[in-house]
Symmetry: C2
Subunit: 216 residues, 2 copies
């Protein structure tokens, strides 16, 4: 009756549908029947092409993660200054989230709460954190060359800062995903100011103490 389509096409349709349903309902509440229906196909086809529910979810996760990584990597020129790399990376990141709000939700909200996939996700997250930590370290080294030599930072500090920054970015991304009217470009600018100015001050050795308002 309806068109018979080649496997590759159907698989993408199924993944599209699955991302939407997982995103709206959550992993457990999503039913394979609903996914199949939304994909315009019957359930056994989903099993035939993409396997059981776990595998299907993992497939969604991997497709969306790959797209995100490629979008970010594609926006960054590796030869640019660290701050420009960061800026372009953030732009690409928030643009992606703005364009694929469903994908973002699947990737970060759902996967995190399902213990079965938390490991997979933690791996991606760790890689991102390490990249960011590397950028910070590079920026710090460059700042040292420029003028001051005050650097109290140890490797762990970079990692912790990177962790905090990634969290901040995710938080803004969630906000973006929930607010249809927000402009990705502006979100990226906010994040960039937030990161760069703050990090710059911190990396110059300015520290807050309990007994004094701040030290410079």
């Amino acid at each position: 009756m309806l068109k018979r389509l080649p496997r590759v096409v159907r698989e993408q349709q199924m993944l599209d549908a699955a991302v939407k349903v997982f995103s709206n309902r959550g992993f457990h509440a999503a039913s394979m029947d609903e996914i199949a229906e939304l994909a315009g196909i019957s359930k056994p086809m989903v099993y035939a092409y993409l396997g059981a529910k776990d595998e299907l979810f993992l497939a969604c996760l991997q497709r969306e993660a790959t797209r995100l990584m490629e979008a970010v990597a594609g926006g960054v020129r590796p030869t640019a200054r660290p701050d420009e790399q960061l800026w372009n990376g953030l732009r690409a990141f928030f643009a992606f989230v703005g364009a694929h709000r469903d994908g973002w939700r699947v990737l970060y909200q759902q996967a995190r709460s399902e213990p079965r996939f938390a490991g997979e996700l933690a791996g991606m997250r760790t890689r991102i954190v390490e990249v960011v930590a590397g950028l910070l370290e590079g920026a710090c080294a460059q700042a040292d060359l420029a003028s001051r030599t005050r650097t109290p930072a140890r490797p762990d500090d970079f990692l912790a800062m990177a962790y905090a920054y990634v969290g901040a970015a995710e938080s803004l991304a969630d906000w973006l995903a929930d607010h249809e009217e927000e402009d990705p470009e502006q979100t990226a600018t906010r994040m960039m100011n937030f990161v760069w100015v703050g990090a710059d001050a911190l990396l110059q050795g300015r520290v807050w103490h309990t007994d004094r308002s701040q030290a410079g």
Copy 2:
């Protein structure tokens, strides 16, 4: 056979068990039987005292949220300087997360991904974000009195910054929840440096631009 205990005691035991199970398995994968068993009681008692699964989860959410709020509020002296308020609040916050890692997970990871409770949680989150935005605004006003009058900040900027900070704190809290060896006090210090020094620089009007490394 086993002791008969008054209602109030049993309820707390049930909530303790529920928080643990919800935290480990996720809302859907958690079974009422397992919760009942862990609480050392039979399932109908859970229904009799705390209602259906939804209500039970909400009860967990509310108990943990209340505890968290009280812990933070209890650590803060409202008459102190803004930076000290922030510092004490962060200390209390990370101490709480360190001590109630399960509760934290239920509160933030699980609740967020379940559309049914996302609203409830978003409300709490919004309140927190607004408090933080208020602190920032207060700090900014104080800084203005002290010396410079350069303030490019509009209300939305405070809100966005607060959002990013809350995300950063959550991220560090997740890290803390996952790393048994990490010290809550140190995490709080990291966050404080991160927030205060960065915010200070930002609120003085330092901004990053596309064509220049930074402005001061």
